[in-house]
Amino acid sequence: MSDDTVAGLASRLAKRELSAVELARDTLGRIARLDPRLNAFVTVDAEGALAQARAADEAIAHKRAGPLAGVPIAHKDVLMTEGLRTTCGSRMLESFIAPYDAHVVAGLKRAGTVLVGKTNMDEFAMGSSNETSHFGPVRNPWNLDYVPGGSSGGSAAAVAARLVPGATGTDTGGSIRQPASLSGICGFKPTYGVSSRYGLIAFASSLDTPGAFARTALDCALLHNAMSGHDPRDATSLDRPHDDCTRLIHANAGAKPLDGLRIGLPHEYFGEGNDPEVAAAIDAALAQFRELGATTVDVSLPAVKLSVPVYYVIAPAEASSNLSRFDGVRYGHRAARFDDLDDLYRKTRAEGFGAEVKRRILVGTYVLSHGYYDAYYLKAQKVRRLIANDFTRAWRSCDVIMGPTAPSPAFRLGDKTDDPVQMYLNDIFTIASNLTGAPAISIPCGFTRGGLPIGLQIQGESFAEAAILNVAHRFQQATDWHARVPAMAGSETPLARKP
């Protein structure tokens, strides 16, 4: 495996074959050269990165370094980073400096990572193409005319283009897995409640989940280990013993490492709607899993087709309330001219929020408003239960569920911006894991003839993090899709790769 992964860099830094400062300089240099074409970063903190790198080298020299000391990473700009601008991709927070660190940010700090900057995203994480950002769209490293997916598009593109070996994201309806799929990397969403939401700027509180982007499942496990754990500041954070999600990956395995694994295949995931090239790549991946000893069983998730409508009631409802705090009084954008208090609110919010965010606030306000609550919000919560029940039933006959992460590969910028519903349907396979709170990962499993990546989604039961990461890892041991480098990134050789 090439050594510019989180795992590879961490061990070379620990052995002092490479200094954190050299690596940080190289990383900042690559960002300076390549990012103008991608727009993956909203903020780059060169000074801070070098300071953290020096501290990491110090810590390594004095043998008190964290497991990821000196490894450069980037955070999605939805996560609060003390002293650093945190915009959420919105004009509303264009110049907002966060006064504290998110729980997952602090965890990665403790592990010794070097934060190089904040990545671009759909405004308030509302989007599937990273085209709703106030800071402009992010481009797909595999083809600059295409979208990287969203909402965590900046993190996905940054990792895909080898600007950083790992990055954080948040996943509310697929915002980690879908861009990972469209950008040809791994995107991991853990069980809801395993990683704290404290310091994550809320979109839909009952669905928002912080997670990780990297090129390998092992790297995702390493980042997740540093991000996860109980946090008393989040009442939905689960108080359970910390789970080392590399434990199964590091266990010895024979020629058939997945012997006995039952892969559930919901026929709902393999319908007409899927792009034929995507369907072919998924079939090939499944054949590979059988090679590794797994068996496949048919399962049925009849209610899953309702994921999208359920999601587009629950998420906007929660968002309409969560985004009320952006009122121009205590922080963030405030309209320059206004007649009175109400006018201040109306103008501030009309100017500060983009079109998609406003649309979802309006949808959410409507479904909660007097006379519509039962028909929409309560109904959606009941159907959410039906979807959860489908999975409970399915888990009796399988250990993991597989299928395409997205029905189609990346699309051209601007292709779907006029049709919100077409855009929303991108998340048809990913939303269910958010509704049920269960973990899932998207890993690269092929390319289209046009050279666009295709992602495979592996879903597990709640708390099956270690298991699905191991399943993904074993696949990556037998394949090299994850090692492919986009041309625009390959044209540059990371210092980290030099012998």
């Binding site: 006064p99 028909a375 929303y424």
Partner: protein, 95 residues
């Protein structure tokens, strides 16, 4: 359920988002397509189904009654749009 242009104005007011007539009808058109998709829910039989408002079936964890926060007013107000004497300023509030 039919979403009317008046509904759009009503919810825009509830959400405190300024919206002119032009924008209102554009938004109305987009919301109609969204609700056409959402209305698939109405066909589902959910009699006797318990609503699900949390991803995990847990109960509330409580904190002990202790003061843990210190005064960070200056840090918090550094980026505030309008502050005086430690107060956030807003247009005259009427009761």
């Amino acid at each position: 359920m039919k979403l009317t242009l008046d509904d759009v104005r009503r919810i825009a007011h509830l959400a405190r988002i300024e919206i002119d007539a032009q924008a209102a009808s554009e938004v109305h058109a987009k919301l109609e397509t969204i609700f056409a998709m959402i209305d698939a829910l109405q066909a589902v039989d959910t009699t006797g189904v318990e609503p699900m408002s949390h991803a995990q079936d847990v109960v509330l964890a409580l904190r002990e009654d202790r003061v843990t926060e210190t005064d960070r007013r200056d840090a918090f107000q550094r980026g505030a749009p309008a502050v005086e004497d430690g107060l956030y300023l807003v247009p005259r509030v009427v009761e």
